[in-house]
Amino acid sequence: MIEAYGLTKRYGAKTAVYNLSFQVRPGAVTGFLGPNGSGKSTTMRMILGLDTPTSGRVTVGGHAFRGLPNAPRQVGALLDAKAVHGGRSARNHLLSLAQLSGIPARRVDEVLGVVGLQEVGKKRSKGFSLGMGQRLGIAAALLGDPQVLLFDEPVNGLDPEGILWVRNLMRRLASEGRTVFVSSHLMSEMAQTADHLIVIGRGQLMADMSVQEFIERNSVGFARVRTPDTEPEQREKLIVALQEAGGQAQPENDGALRVTGLPLPRISDLAHSADVRLWELSPHQASLEEAYMRLTQGSVDYRSTTDMRAGLQQPAGAPGMAVPGTVPPQAAPVPGAAAQMPPAPQGNPYVAQQPVPQQAPQPGAPEGGTLQMRAQQPPAGAAGSSTSSTTKNEGEDA
């Protein structure tokens, strides 16, 4: 069990982790997700007592890590595959760690076998590939047969066979009743490995829920429906009609509706019988990766939007509700933009057609992402001319 309370870490003026509270429980694989630079590694270092939190605290099994009488027997960690002295052989590296916590030397050969490095145990780890380095790091984590395991991006550099192996290993470790905490920036990987997700963005908690719940909330088909912006009463009429038919309509911040529970033809029929014109009716399928990206992008939106609105009129649909667990209702971003932070400003189909009034860069704009994000957001109410019916993320019909 890992428990963090109000964990905050500042490096000078930069806040890496802010007020992070969560619990990681035994018997499950808990995925720790966040884009690069979101504070995952910093959090892991604080759990392991390598970094001292600026405020807040974190305990492992009820104790601060640095107070554990025999840390490797209680907590195993893979922080960085290259955190070894390259001139030492894999076996001697593990032997020195085993001796440090009174673990018998034959356990070293055991874990070398578990990770499949018995053939190269005598070789210096300098010549290891990234994947072999990861295996060596995992061997070090398993050395003490600990109750709690932390892995920082364990599949980095592994081949597909290795990824599958790590996935099965994590699941097996968790099924034995261990606490397994795995960080990753790949949602798709975590969806297959983890039982529970903790998502952070910019050092703040964005979501803390089971994978199943995350999927239920985020990976659903829905229809985007848009009524003429000039006639809000049509929109109200349609919402009533949809709800009477058993659908759910949620407003999106650009004025469109996100409709779930009704197939597209039925929505069209309902609109027709309610005498409502539609400007858009498009099917959408949010993948987990998209949901995750929108979630983490939310933290970016939160900051840039407040800045942006100072210069733009924004009459309705307050964006930037980055409540933990909230998906900012933006159109889906482009697949493949996963590595970018912030994502490429192409997600909203209304942006491409609508010339966006660009502001001159303001001196003292707070973050590097601000300008891009500003360009991405059209002023609400001014973007009604599109006839586009789908985004690039078109999936099957809802």
Binding site: G27, A28, T52, D80, S96, G102, Q147, G177, P324
Partner: protein, 302 residues
């Protein structure tokens, strides 16, 4: 799906996978202590090439230069130096190897990132530093003392047939005489073997502490080279009466003077200096720096 679906995280807590008993390892757990860290550090220091290299080079330099010097001097009737003193020349170079190893014992862990693995495996950071210091100090002391003893034996064997010329009085020039022949007193033997070994091992330990402070190999090695060599070099360039006090101070407290005094050829005018007080001073300085490194290691993020 309800419109409240994005409300927050609280609702998710109910879905924790439960019902699995927390894992308990069947391997018996020992409470760790300094002994474990010492064994571990011994494994670490003997399994990297830098240890083998630096100590071999030190050994070759000390014994090799000692042998060559002794052979070159053995033809002379009287060299004007105490019997064992030519061991100093090799050790002046050999000590740089020990300094390098002392620095590397700590900084190689920072350079490779190994320190994070080490401090995760042993969060009692002071114990790690103490174990490193003890293992390195003992190893450096034993190896240096061995090399110095071997050199002293060579000197003694090759140079002991020197006789005292008539113009030299017993107390005038370095060295002890017995029946007109040059011999080494017990104090000289002690200084040229154990004393020199201790002195160089202490310098290495100081380097280890400086390495723990700076956490950077090149920076720490450069700093230690400066500490060892600069006072003497600076003193050489300080001519003139006005700078005499500074020059004398630099000469007397130069780390090289401590070593030279142990060989009974001090660089100052005080020809009776044995080097032991300077060795004590070096020990005090080393312990202070080690203490600062210990305190900072606890405080700093890794």
């Amino acid at each position: 799906m309800s419109t409240q679906q994005y409300e927050g995280q609280a609702a998710g807590q109910a879905n924790w996978p439960n019902g699995i008993a927390p894992y308990n390892s069947p391997i018996p757990m020992a409470r760790t202590h300094l002994g474990h860290a010492l064994v571990s550090e011994w494994t670490k220091i003997r399994t990297v090439r830098s240890t083998v290299w630096t100590l071999s080079v030190m050994f070759v330099l000390v014994v090799g230069i000692g042998l060559l010097t002794a052979m070159a001097l053995s033809g002379d009737d009287y060299t004007g130096m105490p019997l064992l003193s030519s061991g100093l020349f090799g050790l002046m170079l050999g000590q740089l190897c020990v300094i390098t190893l002392g620095v590397l014992v700590v900084t190689s862990e920072y350079g490779t990132g190994m320190i994070r693995t080490t401090l995760t495996a042993c969060p009692q950071r002071g114990r790690v530093l103490l174990a490193k210091a003890v293992v390195f100090f003992v190893l450096a002391f034993v190896m240096t003392t061995l090399a110095c003893t071997l050199t002293a034996l060579i000197n003694s064997a090759l140079l002991s047939d020197q006789t005292r010329p008539s113009y030299v009085s017993d107390s005038n020039f370095g060295g002890s005489f017995e029946g007109g022949k040059l011999v080494a007193s017990g104090g000289e033997w002690l200084g040229a073997t154990v004393g020199a070994g201790l002195y160089v091992a202490l310098l290495g330990l100081l380097s280890l502490a400086v390495g723990a402070l700076l956490r950077h190999s090149a920076g720490a090695i450069t700093t230690m080279m400066g500490v060892v060599l600069l006072p003497l070099v600076m003193a050489l360039f300080m001519a003139g009466e006005a700078l005499k006090d500074v020059r004398d101070f630099l000469l007397e407290y130069s780390p090289l003077n401590g070593l030279a005094s142990l060989y009974r050829i001090p660089m100052t005018e005080d020809q009776d200096a044995t080097g032991w007080p300077l060795l004590g001073g070096l020990a005090v300085v080393t312990l202070i720096i080690l203490g600062v490194a210990y305190a900072l290691l606890h405080k700093r993020d890794v």
